[in-house]
Symmetry: C2
Subunit: 98 residues, 2 copies
């Protein structure tokens, strides 16, 4: 859902995670090490991002590799741009929500 995406983007730490992931996939612990928050806290941020489908998780033996999901990020950016200009109808958001 569109809403979970924007809610996920509402927290600075989560946007930061996406920024780190932009440069390439990363292990959970590797990510957690970059932040001051406790490990469980970061784990939950990752869960929120995953729930919004902004990232994907893949087990690699003992650890878990996270990847950014570019297309969802693109959709969000497009939705924002859709809020600008455009002499279009008023239902661009509804379409994008599906």
């Amino acid at each position: 859902m569109q809403n979970t995406v924007f809610k996920a983007l509402a927290h600075p730490a989560r946007r930061q995670v996406l920024a780190l992931l932009r440069k390439g996939p990363r292990l959970a612990g590797d990510l957690a090490a970059e932040f001051e928050s406790s490990w469980p806290t970061m784990s939950r941020h990752l869960a929120v991002l995953k729930d919004a489908d902004l990232i994907t998780a893949e087990r690699q033996g003992n650890q878990i590799l996270y990847r950014v999901n570019t297309s969802v990020l693109e959709d969000a950016a497009t939705a924002l741009l859709g809020l600008i200009g455009g002499d279009n109808g008023d239902d661009e958001l509804k379409e994008a929500a599906e």
Copy 2:
């Protein structure tokens, strides 16, 4: 701040307000009438959007006219796109935050 913008975008009603404002300026009461929430509730949503600088308010005698602030919306969209691809450094967010 970047953070207030994304927090403001996190609520569906507020995104909807922006969508309505895209078509042109609107009076506060006119906007409030489009939603099911109470008028004070909408007033606060508008305050959040204004605090994030996503909209601007202008008195028109008895009433208040709201306008979308396109540039801030653009900046947010750009920030999201910056989270994608780009073999850039890791500090694009920091720059955009200023």
